[in-house]
């Protein structure tokens, strides 16, 4: 029922993204075969070597067949060969993905936590100083670009104050500063969405009825207001994961975080499309999975969605 329909939509979205992304791969200038050979140290690739590589990469098959085999490989997790290092992209990603997941996970937690605090403070103190203060903070963190913040944090906090490490090793011990920088980017939008939905839920009649029953403000907030306000907020969080993944390359390259974002930045400079396409697929997959999870959580919260 609901889950199946959502799963269907998610698959269509993935397929659509696949087609879009493959089109980009197919259209990029430069001859992949020659670049892969050069990447593997072959100084002047001879025509027969190039022909062999073209065959290995199946570059000469008709477009549709190429897409079919590419999609099949991608489904099995084989993201093709990097034009820069000549090695399979999936191996490169496998080594670095945990670090990125750790970073985006920590950033997601931080962003949701901060957004909850700012959004709730703004909604509860609507119109008064908490509202202005919370929205001011949200605006301040939105306005300062993450890479400027990263540079300043790196120099002041890490080098001058001696807190944290410059060469982040991708473990939980050094995740806080990069995760904070990444999280602040989306806190503003999320706290604003939460504030609006909290205010909307706040004016709902059942809240006044529970007040008339003698319920205190904390019970009204936690038992009734927040759950009702959760759905739009969670949908935004689902959408926001794409922004987090999108922001990862910049933050990872500023904080030398050994994730796939930074690896993609290096690929960007070397115009290594398979890696970029791989990163895109990982990003879309995370976005679709996050969207599914959010839908399931919302359905769990709101029984009306289940029918």
């Amino acid at each position: 029922m609901l889950v199946l329909r959502r799963l269907g939509q998610a698959l269509i979205t993935l397929a659509g993204a696949g087609v879009l992304v493959f089109a980009m791969l197919a259209v990029t200038p430069g001859d992949p075969a020659r670049r892969v050979l050069e990447a593997r140290g072959v100084g002047e690739p001879s025509p027969p070597a190039i022909a062999a590589m073209r065959d290995e990469l199946r570059l000469d098959d008709p477009l549709l067949a190429r897409f079919g085999s590419w999609a099949a490989d991608a489904a099995r997790g084989n993201l093709g060969t990097s034009w820069r290092t000549g090695r399979p992209v999936s191996d490169e990603f496998a080594a670095r993905l945990p670090a990125t997941l750790r970073l985006t996970g920590a950033a997601l937690a931080l962003a949701v936590g901060t957004a909850l605090v700012l959004g709730t403070t703004a909604a509860l103190g609507a119109g008064r100083w908490p509202d202005v203060l919370a929205r001011g903070i949200a605006l301040a963190v939105l306005v300062v670009p993450s890479f400027v913040l990263g540079i300043v944090i790196l120099d002041l906090v890490v080098v001058r104050a001696g807190l944290g490490r410059v060469i982040a090793d991708g473990t939980w011990a050094t995740v806080f500063l990069p995760a904070l920088t990444l999280a602040l980017g989306s806190v503003a939008t999320w706290s604003r969405i939460l504030r609006t939905s909290l205010l909307e839920a706040g004016s709902a009649t059942h809240l006044r009825v529970s007040a008339a029953r003698g319920a205190g403000p904390r019970r009204r907030l936690l038992v009734h207001q927040l759950p009702n306000a959760a759905a739009p907020f969670l949908t935004m969080v689902g959408l926001g994961t794409a922004a987090l993944i999108g922001g990862a390359p910049i933050v990872e390259s500023v904080f030398t975080w050994p994730g796939i974002g930074r690896y993609t930045v290096e690929a960007i400079n070397a115009r290594d499309m398979p890696v970029v396409v791989g990163f895109t697929l990982v990003a879309v997959l995370t976005y679709v999975v996050a969207g599914l999870i959010v839908d399931l959580v919302c359905a769990a919260i709101d029984p009306r969605l289940r029918s």
Binding site: T120, P130, R165, A173, S253
Partner: protein
Amino acid sequence: MSRGSLVRRLAACAVVTAVAAGCATTGGQEPTPAGPPTLTLATGFAIDDLDPLENGYWGPEFGYVELLMRPERGGAPTPWVLQELTNPAPTTWVLRLRDRVTFQNGTPLTGAALADLITFQLAENPDVASALEGATAAASGPLEVTLTTARPAPNVPSILADESMVPVYDVAAYRAHRDSGAAATELITKGLYTGPYVVDTLDAESMQLSPRADHWGGEPALDDLTLRFVPEAGARIQAVQAGEADIALYPPTATAQTLTGRQDSFYVTGAATGPTFVLQFNQREAPFDDERVRKAVYAGIDYTEIADEVMNGLYAPATGLYVDSRPWAEKTQAFDATRAATLLDEAGWTRAGDGPRSKGGQELRFGILTYPQQPDSDTLALAVQAQLARLGVGVDIRQVPDIQAAVEEQTGWQASVYGGGFISFGGDYLTPLVNTLRTGGPNNYTGTSDPALDALIDRLGVELDTTERDGLLRRIQTLIAERGYLGYLGVRLPAVVAGPAWRGYPVPISNLWVNAQTAPA
């Protein structure tokens, strides 16, 4: 409890949890180890594995691989793993090995092993094959190998001193490993090399090495050697400032100025082995199909201003294709604004007052290609733009992501700044000349094709007598200057950023950062 206090209580507990989480996940500073001498190097390029063919050239730089000869700043290469290198006849070279040189896996380096190594490299390494075409090597004694070249090859010593040509390794063990189809990561356990340091661990982030007590040259100076792979230059320097690394390699020239007055990091420079940034013109396209325009531009550039003003003394002024330390160096480049002006007038690019020069209604304007991988290329292009503006010559700067692909095209570019010396790491002066300026050379992007120049280069290729060689090289440099085929913008002083303990670090030539004697000053 009113709404207001609920808000305050909620905010307070949130802040407390945030701070606690923050401290827990922000690792403290790495304690700087006092005690015995250790070295942590932050380098920009990751080493994938220890495969001698794929990544052998990193070995000599970081002390876990050695070469047969050692390149020298001014003169010819000196013996390293070899005891002696003699050239009894024009096409025969005798290589005599030091005794007691053993690979880390214990097998000794014998004459037979060396001959087998050279033959294997000639077959597998395309660079060695093209540099020593038709050469053969045979063991002529327990610790001696005779190398026979097809024709006299004066650059054999330089080739044996080049990191990408013949790194010394146990070729039998490597061939066995390769035939077994095992993964390259297992090479760590094979002990293929003879270097003073042994690679213990290697991953995408760092390489850990430890000293080899039984090295033929005696106990190495360091107790521990670590390489950390950090592509971002800024991060490497900050790692040194934060005490996480002792030396940061490949620092951008721009950062030197920012380190003045700091006590936690120093910009340490060494003597240059050769000019680094070439300004090359595409002779197939206007306006550089006209020789006078090329010579005018080379004469119109103020090399001293570039070195002292633009680069704040971190460059040495370019005087020609070689630095003075080379015995045969000729001073072929000099800033002469009037000569440049007269050359341009002769070429028909006349100028009214101090407006732009034009010919037939068309303004004299050309584009220079730069590339992000070398930030100095932008700075130099900008300086050239400003200086040529004084002569009324317009310059447009265009940054391209892949400079190699751009200059390989016959058309579509007029000029480019390109990082590349005119002498190889090993000191080989011949191959760069053949590849870059001889007709049909693989790197001859400028389209230079001059029979007189080709003849001189071919004679140089077989000239073993040094005085004769120097005379030929001088005539080649003068001819290149007269035709305006090639010119250099500046001589970048090799540099590193060192922490307080390594302030006196002697910046080596040819990137050979670590050897058995390297130790904190």
